[in-house]
């Protein structure tokens, strides 16, 4: 038996969330006294595949020559290599969210998504997951002998270990059902889903022309930028930046909210952040109830000062 983990790469490099998933799989494997096997799809160099060993994988199965975004194709190959797995782990990515449920139905293995803990029991597997857009934590029991777990974003850190892995190449003849025609990458920088720090701003900033200081602060912190829904709707910022219930759900270590009131739908997408800082002129803004740190006052005064202080602290 083994813990099988789906390892996703972006243009040949594994994502941070992949290493987190392998780290989690390794913790789980220790609990079950078994090994971690990683399954990789697409072209990845041996050097990169070997990195999986640093987080606990003892064997890597590398499947090349496929469109990893084709959920049908990937689920079929997955199923063929899952016979020995007792638990299958996915990080939360757009692609894994297409594959994991398919695999669950295909193999009739119970699935829990948004997982935020190691199992509290392993027979049956009992796990805590986020539900109601972060407003509740659900305890789910997997009724099947095996389980599929999809981890909540940024819920687990990286755990390095000394180890190495063997690499096995798999060739496939699966037919594609979905073809990739191209892609548009909106931000070459840091993707919101994986960002450790997010600087976000709302209607309080009054106009697109005022985002310079937001971007400067983000740049300084190595952060991604985000915005509230009305800001994207008015067109001050691209839609990709819209976070909240109907936008992206994010879970960075630090979320800085500038001129955002903190409506329940906004909070639903950001309340998984570990630490939240709010800057708002209105002391009664609901965001102050959810935040860890705050300054009541004018963003146009505070943000430049904050940038200055961070620069000082960095020197």
């Amino acid at each position: 038996m083994s813990v099988l983990v789906y390892t996703e790469n972006w243009k040949g490099k594994f994502r941070k969330s992949t290493f987190e998933a392998v780290s989690y799989a390794n913790e789980l494997a220790k609990l079950l006294a078994t090994d971690v096997v990683a399954l990789s799809f697409g072209e990845v160099s041996d050097e990169e595949l070997n990195k999986l060993g640093n987080y606990g994988a003892s064997k890597v199965l590398s499947v090349s020559g496929i469109n990893k975004g084709d959920s049908q194709q990937v689920a079929n190959i997955f199923a063929k290599n899952a016979a020995d797995a007792s638990i299958i782990i996915f990080a939360s990515t757009y692609t894994s969210k297409m594959i994991a449920p398919r695999l669950s139905a295909k193999l009739k293995i119970g699935i829990a998504s948004n997982v935020i803990s190691l199992p509290s029991s392993t027979s049956p597997i009992t796990i805590s997951r986020k539900a109601f857009s972060g407003k509740a934590i659900e305890k789910t029991i997997i009724k099947t002998e095996k389980a599929i777990l999809t981890l909540a974003p940024n819920a687990f850190g990286l755990v390095e270990c000394v180890g190495s892995c063997s690499i096995e190449k798999i060739n496939t003849s699966e037919n594609a059902s979905v073809l990739i025609e191209g892609e548009e990458i909106t931000r070459g920088k840091i993707s919101l889903a994986e960002a450790e720090i997010i600087v976000s701003a709302g209607r309080g900033l009054k106009g697109a022309e005022n985002w310079g200081m937001v971007e400067e602060l983000a740049e300084l912190l190595g952060a991604a930028t985000a915005c509230s829904k009305p800001v994207a709707d008015i067109g001050w910022r691209p839609h990709e930046e819209h976070v909240g219930q109907t936008g992206k759900a994010v879970a960075p270590n630090l979320y800085i909210a500038i001129g955002i009131s903190g409506a329940i739908q906004h909070l639903a997408g950001v309340n998984s952040s570990k630490v939240m800082v709010v800057i708002n002129t209105d002391a009664e803004a609901p965001f102050f109830k959810a935040a860890d740190y705050g300054i009541v006052g004018d963003a146009f005064q505070i943000v430049p000062k904050l940038i200055e202080e961070i620069k000082k602290a960095k020197n």
Partner: protein, 248 residues
């Protein structure tokens, strides 16, 4: 074109979430139920596709009689008919399996689910339906054009979009971008009147199979009060973030 839109009935986004019976059951008292926002984008897209190319739009749900007002709303928005599978869903597999069983008997060219439901957030039902029916599936779909039997799709990926092509029949998990917010339709009086006489078929579930069970719910720990820093003392905020929170 024959389109089926899967509708999940969920608490309105402003709802306060509570649980009863020792945290084992969602407390629906005082809750206003609405069409899952992701499904609303899908339903609107279905209406637009039908207006362009003709065909028929069915909405389907797995739920008890309490979800009927939400299905009537979907009919008022413009769906031609509604199907309710009369059962309280016990997990995603149960829901997907029931919908797939219906679809095997009553096929569709395009099956639209939402990227996820905003209550259980499983993000699983669409993919499972696709698997059971052995169809292609594109999730987080934020663009769809159909020409005859072929579909051009766009899906969200980390940091961008991916353009795809596939042929029908096909399952998607929809989200904003499929249509824009400004395209969403509010039922008008005529639609509401017409909805009353549109067919809402109730069928009994065919199986009770599920793979998981929900044991209990709890609310996340309350955050401790927000620490306020005086304006002008931004240096203190930086210190707190470095030394206390250790996040920068």
């Amino acid at each position: 074109m024959n389109i089926v839109v899967c509708i999940s009935s969920v608490p309105d986004t402003t709802s306060k979430i509570n649980f009863t019976e020792n945290g084992s059951k969602f407390d629906s008292s005082g809750i206003q139920f609405v069409i899952n926002p992701y499904d609303e984008f899908g339903l609107t897209k279905a209406m637009m596709l039908k207006e362009k190319a003709g065909g028929n739009v069915r909405v389907i749900t797995v739920g008890d009689a309490l979800v009927e007002p939400v299905m009537r709303k979907a009919l008022a928005i413009g769906a031609d008919s509604a199907i309710r599978i009369n059962a309280n869903p016990t997990d995603s597999y149960f829901t997907a399996n029931e919908i797939a069983i219906y679809l095997k008997e009553n096929p569709a060219d395009l099956i639209i689910a939402g990227r996820e439901s905003i209550d259980y957030n499983s993000g699983a039902v669409g993919g499972m339906i696709a698997e059971i029916l052995n169809l292609p599936f594109v999730n987080a779909c934020n663009g769809l054009e159909i020409d005859g039997n072929s579909a051009k799709l766009c899906r969200e990926i980390e940091g961008g979009k991916e353009n795809l092509s596939a042929s029908l029949p096909l399952v998607i998990g929809g989200q904003k971008g499929l249509v824009e917010e400004s395209d969403l339709r509010i039922p008008n009086m005529r639609g509401i009147m017409q909805a009353r006489s549109k067919p809402l078929m109730v069928i009994e579930p065919s199986s009770d199979e599920n793979l998981t069970s929900s044991e209990s719910f709890e609310k996340p720990a309350e955050k401790s009060a927000c620490k306020l820093v005086e304006i002008g003392n931004e240096a203190e905020l930086v210190r707190l973030l470095q030394e206390e929170a250790k996040v920068i």
